[in-house]
Amino acid sequence: MNKTDALIIGAGPTGLFTAHQLKLIGLDCEIVDNLDKIGGQCIELYPDKPIYDIPAVPECTGEELTINLLNQLKPFDIKFHLSERVEEVKKEDNNWLVKTNGGHTFLTPNVIIAGGVGSFEPRKFSPKECEKFENKSLFYSVKDKSVFKGKTVSIFGGGDSALDWAIELSKESHVNLIHRRDEFRGAQATVDKMYELKKGGKINLFTKYQMANVHGEQTLETIDLKHDNNEIKNLKTDYVLGFFGLIMQLGPIANWGLNLNKKTIEVDTEKFETNQKGIYAVGDICNYPGKLKLILSGFHEGALAARACFKLARPNEKYRFEFTTTSKNLLKRLGKKE
């Protein structure tokens, strides 16, 4: 069990700066994020897109912003738990007991949700019947490729993940590659390689088709593909893989007893606290009258939530406001000589 003064959910820009503020005022914190990398939407959705409205930074990309925020955290020791999603938040006396799907448990008086528009999850097939076979014979990622050996695998998608796995699995499996149009968005070399394997009969290619249905009692037996012209084709298959990128979902946060408004969490504007004492929401995921979904607003919200955390983490101490320009305490924490 990890004991910490505050747990931050989300390693996007708001989560990172909130960590900075917590450490600066002398509190410990750890960060959990469902993505396998730090940066949130800035890294996942627009690493190369310039941002023009960060104060005092005329122009920077999502990736540059993330790197700069990480540089600002260098003086501090912060534990990141990536590729982990918070599943459960439970009250335990004056603390929150937080469990992740990676097996970590945290005990903390403060939970700060800096979750953006939710966690990034794989996009799924639309037919409802697909759920029945999910994680048995229908997958959205590959954990152990050996199960596909000698089997028929139907791979859906037009990007690098779909192409890379079609090429890799064609060595030891029968591969069907299905995509909704003729163009592929993967790297040209990968696309060329796939067409070469198709020519050699190693990959069966079906374009302008999409998943229409899955059939099978206990195990998956066949799938129906639907062509743009509505023609249905039935394919025998042992496994199905879908690679349609990631979508943001609120996920388990919806079950924590918080006041939700569509995909956002209601907070006050003094502490950015939710209706649950010690649970805060900052950045894009929080909502209050006048809320702006700007990165700069997330920084402000995180700074105030961090001060609120102090009261619960150090109930017997008084928080004193200090400036980094003059405070010996703060300069020491930042590793600067006076």
């Binding site: 959705l45 897109k49 996009r123 968005r185 743009d228 990128g245 979508i247 979902q249």
Partner: protein
């Protein structure tokens, strides 16, 4: 997309805020309008690959810029965005 979001029209999530980066403002454009509105630019079809039940008349509404030329445009929304 902006028109929908700013007027609380449900069904257009626009999670990424109009950046052609999430495919949650997906719409089906009525057939007779599809060829009248400005064509898709690079990247839009790549994002549409990830949309919920894309069809040949699918567009991302963040890429449809409203002008007098498309006065009367009709679109349908998918049963969900993700």
């Amino acid at each position: 997309m902006e028109g929908a979001v700013q007027n609380d029209i449900p069904g257009i999530d626009a999670d990424c805020g109009g950046g052609m980066a999430c495919a949650t403002c997906h719409v089906y454009v009525k057939e007779d309008w599809f060829n009248k509105i400005p064509k898709k630019e690079d990247g839009e079809d790549d994002m549409l690959d990830m949309a919920f039940e894309p069809k040949t008349n699918s567009r991302l509404s963040c890429q449809i810029i409203v002008s007098d030329d498309i006065d009367g445009l009709e679109v349908n929304i998918p049963s969900k965005q993700a």
